[in-house]
């Protein structure tokens, strides 16, 4: 089942997409990844990871309405 999910862009992913957030429709996280890379080719240059509802994603996951997915380039804190 496809669901409306919220996408948040951080760091270099904001510059690659030109936005800080948007809503898309996807059934799982693999679909999110594919859609974003095809929509924003510049994202391919960024080794981003995804967080699903504030937790770093390991592998892929099904999505539900209102899930929040963060597109996160390598961390640079400290």
């Amino acid at each position: 089942m496809a669901a409306e999910v919220r996408i948040l862009y951080f760091g270099a992913a904001q510059e690659a997409t030109g936005k800080s957030d948007e809503t898309i429709v996807a059934g799982d996280t693999a679909s999110v990844r594919n859609q974003l890379i095809s929509r924003y080719p510049a994202l391919k240059q960024i080794p981003f990871r995804m967080a699903l509802n504030r937790t770093l994603l390991k592998g892929e996951s099904e999505l539900q309405k209102s899930d929040i997915i963060a597109i996160m380039p390598p961390f640079q804190g400290g």
Binding site: L8, F10, G11, A12, A51, R54, T55, A70, M72, P73, F75, Q76, G77, G78
Partner: protein, 133 residues
Amino acid sequence: MKNRYLVGGPITPILISELMTLGNDDAGAGAVSIFIGRVRDDETDGKRVTAIEYSAYEEMAVKEAEEVITTVKSAFSDVRSVIIVHSLGVVKAGEASLFIMVTSGHRDHATRACRHALEMIKERLPVWKKELY
């Protein structure tokens, strides 16, 4: 401060002094280990960094900071308190952007736990930076 873990702008000497008083009423804490990360005036491609602008996934950063504290406390049993503060927004060269303080009964766990927290923060805190010239 935006919350316990994130502050807008630099971590000023005054804020550091305030944070350092937090462990002062615990007379069983014989050891205090502190790490302060500061913005360096590095030169890249002939341009000198004058400031760094930090951004974060704030809600996740709070959760991760709490997990760092929980992990450090359980890994180092002598630890009595852990404080973590990271800057958001613009921090000029020479100013502090990260503050970690660990208190423990004795020196071994304070120093090791502080270093461990630092490595976990580098690895896990969803924070990004943009150099300003």
